[in-house]
């Protein structure tokens, strides 16, 4: 009976997380809509393949040819551990910062620990996905180059290992975030404290990840650290042996691996649930705190009022702040670490900067973040142009801030000519406007207005992914002159000016499209999307 309840709950959670039912229901009865959905999915898959997967596989091929089998897999597992840990930090943060659906689950006749268990399973499911994404291509690349016949077994062991592998990094991320939230609960402004401490933990994790060695490092220390880590962390230890040993003993390691991971999962399940409930209870009580009334009655223009509202909404919500401003949080850290890593000689700063800026989803979730409150924009006497202008301005500021926070420290540290820094900054400004306009255009098309948890509006929002991909595509176009410059003899000034001209042209197109869209939406009702 109880197991049945748990499976119902789990099914609901997974469905809710993956949003399968709604995605499938959307095109029902319309072949055109289904075709459009399929085409969009294919385009996104192609873009992901081009922007992320292909460079990753090229890097893996290079590493497989450079290092010994042991070194290669040590590096791969270190990278997977760090990636799963960082992504799990974000998932755990979402888990703690949203607890609204528990309000209707707790009064139901379901054991409290089942509620946590179902949440933990969905959390673990996300970690397995990221583990598979980072590790299996590595094993496949290595297996493809193997002379012996063990390739399919190697892939099988890698896939099986990936299901168990995230137990340790995901548990570590869970513990770390529970510490962050437990500490935040002691502050008066608990949610603000959670945003700041969460960002600090994320920054530390990225710094750690960069410092323990990256694929770009030239062998030596990176490999040594990876090898040491693979001896310390039990998941790397067992998986490395399970993959490398070609005899039956490998399966014994796989068994140890499974048992030790199950022990970690059990510990998180039994102790994590109690901690989770207690912390959420403390965070909830923060809401009732009364604050002093701010007596500011200054009149502002509607566009400015919307812009200020956007800032306040994004910065006050942990879920919005961490997902929308991830570029702002990470830009200075990445600038300092990238300037030290020796990347400077290979990749111009502007390329890295544009990629970081693309991660901001302020514009592409601007309307979605309103949720059911969006109705207010319809019945209030505000011109579409005004509220769109306010939203675009806020997104522009976040984008430009992340760009500036990367470009200035990075280029100053690598001692780039000041004139080039100015050119790059101008390009950042133009690109910020472009990303803001195109992001808003995407979200205006079909915003996700029905959500219960704030994380759904950003993390489980298709527009956010689409916005990111479109921004990366635009970035690739903007940096074409640099690729041309790397290949041939083109003046550096010409490269920078061309890049700026492209960004400015893209911004002009974005502004024009957004203006047309604003005009066409004037006085629109919300039939169909409410």
């Amino acid at each position: 009976m109880l197991t049945c309840k748990f499976s119902v709950l789990l099914k609901f959670k997974l469905k809710y997380k993956l949003n399968i039912s709604r995605r499938l229901a959307a095109p029902a009865g319309s072949f055109r809509a289904a075709g459009a959905l399929l085409l969009t999915a294919l385009l996104i898959a192609a873009a992901l393949l081009l922007c992320i997967f292909v460079p990753y596989v090229i890097l893996l091929i290079h590493l497989a040819g450079t290092y010994t089998e042991r070194e290669y897999f040590s590096l791969l597992l270190t990278f997977a551990n760090a990636a799963v840990f960082i992504l799990s930090l974000l998932s755990a943060y979402s888990l703690f910062s949203s607890g609204r659906e528990r309000e209707f689950l707790i009064p139901l006749p379901i054991k409290k620990r089942y509620i946590f268990a179902s949440e933990y399973v969905t959390y673990y499911f996300g970690a397995v996905m990221s583990s598979l994404l980072f590790t299996v291509p590595g094993a496949a690349v290595y297996a493809a180059g193997m002379a012996e016949k063990g390739a399919p077994v190697l892939i099988l062991k890698a896939v099986l290992g990936c299901i168990i592998f995230p137990a340790l990094p995901s548990a570590a991320a869970f513990v770390m975030i529970s510490v962050v939230f437990a500490a935040s609960a002691r502050f008066r402004h608990r949610e603000t404290a959670a945003v700041i401490l969460g960002a600090a933990v994320l920054i530390c994790a990225v710094l750690l990840r960069v410092n323990i060695g990256s694929f770009n490092a030239d062998g030596g220390p990176a490999v040594r650290i990876s090898e040491s880590l693979s001896r310390i962390l039990f998941n790397s230890y067992f998986m490395l042996r399970a993959i490398m040993i070609r005899s039956l003993r490998a399966w014994l390691y796989m068994l140890y691996f499974t048992l030790s991971s199950a022990a970690v999962c059990a510990a998180v399940y039994f102790y994590g649930g109690a901690v989770y409930d207690r912390i959420l209870g403390k965070m909830k009580s923060a809401v009732s705190a009364r604050e002093k009334t701010d007596k500011d009655y200054r009149q502002r223009s509607p566009a400015r009022a919307f812009c200020i509202k956007e800032f306040k909404t994004v910065l006050r919500s942990p879920a919005f702040a961490l997902n929308c401003c991830i570029g702002v949080i990470l830009a200075p850290v990445l600038a300092v670490t990238a300037s030290r890593s020796g990347l400077a000689s290979d990749i111009p700063g502007i390329i890295m900067c544009l990629v970081i800026m693309s991660a901001n989803m302020t514009a592409s979730t601007s309307i979605s973040r309103e949720g059911r409150s969006f109705g207010m924009c319809v019945y209030m006497p505000v011109r579409s142009a005004d509220h769109i202008k306010g939203r675009a301005a806020a997104a522009f500021v976040f984008n430009a801030l992340s760009g500036a926070l990367f470009i200035f420290p990075y280029e100053i540290l690598i001692k780039l000519n000041f004139l080039y820094i100015i050119y790059e900054f101008l390009t950042v400004i133009a690109a910020s406007l472009t990303f803001a306009c195109f992001g808003l255009l995407i979200d205006l098309k079909k915003p996700k207005l029905i959500w219960d948890r704030e994380t759904e509006a950003v993390k489980q929002n298709f527009n956010a992914v689409l916005g990111m991909i479109v921004s990366i595509m635009i970035s690739l176009v903007i940096v074409i002159p640099f690729f041309v410059g790397m290949a041939g003899h083109v003046s550096k000034t010409f490269m920078y000016l061309c890049s700026f001209a492209e960004a400015a042209a893209a911004a002009a197109v974005g502004v024009m499209l957004l203006r047309n869209k604003a005009c066409s939406r004037e006085g629109n009702s919300i039939d169909g999307n409410s």
């Binding site: 705190a289 009364r290 009334t293 306040k312 209030m380 009702s525 039939d527």
Partner: protein
């Protein structure tokens, strides 16, 4: 002030209309109560009046302007309190009110005076510094009411405004409706509380299955009613039992 001309709303082209051929005229300074059972079409009608939904057929005129042709002029004229206020939860009460005032272009001194007046009236002064998400349902409702009055509207539209309000706030709201009406503002509200409609409204309209079944002052409706129907509740129940034709 407010005129609905042959308004029909179908959510689906083949479906039964949610509102059908609705004709209604409400004059300046009038308090009009819109009554009907659940699913009769009250909220749909109000949503069409506020521009949230588009009528399938017909026109809605507010202060002589068509809501579809001149949406901004119409929206500047009315204040609206939705049935379940979805207010920006991450803003504080005062930030929300300032935001609304900015959108309506209300000057600093006017907004200050109105915010202070209505916050005191609805006992909100002490909580305006807190974020909206910490408010109870009733407090959110009161905030939406204050927000709808901040620009001194000439038409005040309220959808089930008494829901979630405590008796004090409910009383304050009724008093404010009377005061607004006395100042020439038209008040249009939907309600399930028939006693309130009977005591407060200059005229009432009863909607059933998307059609206006009765309209007039309570006395007019009583005079048309069959013997024994002495209250608005009796009339309402009579209409629900199929005696609607007698009132149109």
């Amino acid at each position: 002030m407010l005129e609905l001309v042959s308004v029909t709303k179908r959510y689906d082209i083949r479906s039964v209309p949610a509102v059908f051929d609705l004709n209604l005229k409400v004059d300046s300074g009038e308090i009009f109560g819109f009554i009907g059972p659940n699913g009769a079409g009250k909220t749909t009608t109000i949503k069409m009046m506020t521009g949230l939904l588009e009528p399938t057929e017909g026109n809605i005129m507010i202060c002589g302007n068509d809501i579809r042709r001149e949406p901004l002029k119409c929206k500047s004229a009315f204040g609206y309190v939705p049935d379940s206020p979805e207010i920006y939860e991450r803003l504080t009460g005062i930030e929300y009110l300032n935001f609304i005032a900015d959108v309506f272009g209300v000057g600093s001194s006017d907004r200050k005076q109105r915010i202070e007046k209505y916050a005191e009236m609805f006992e909100m002064t002490g909580v305006l510094g807190s974020q909206v998400r910490s408010y109870s349902k009733g407090m959110k409702q009161k905030l939406a009411i204050v927000g709808s009055l901040i620009h001194s509207p000439s038409l005040w539209i309220l959808d089930e405004p008494m829901m979630g309000l405590d008796p004090m706030a409910s009383h304050a709201l009724k008093e404010e409706m009377r005061e607004q009406s006395g100042n020439g503002c038209t008040v249009f509200f939907s309600t399930h509380v028939l006693e309130v409609a009977e005591k407060l409204c200059d005229r009432v309209g009863i909607i059933q299955n998307g059609m206006l079944a009765a309209v007039g002052t309570v006395d007019e409706l009583k005079s048309k009613a069959s013997a024994g129907e002495s209250s608005l509740e009796d009339i309402f129940i009579g209409i629900m039992h199929g005696e609607g034709n007698a009132y149109v």
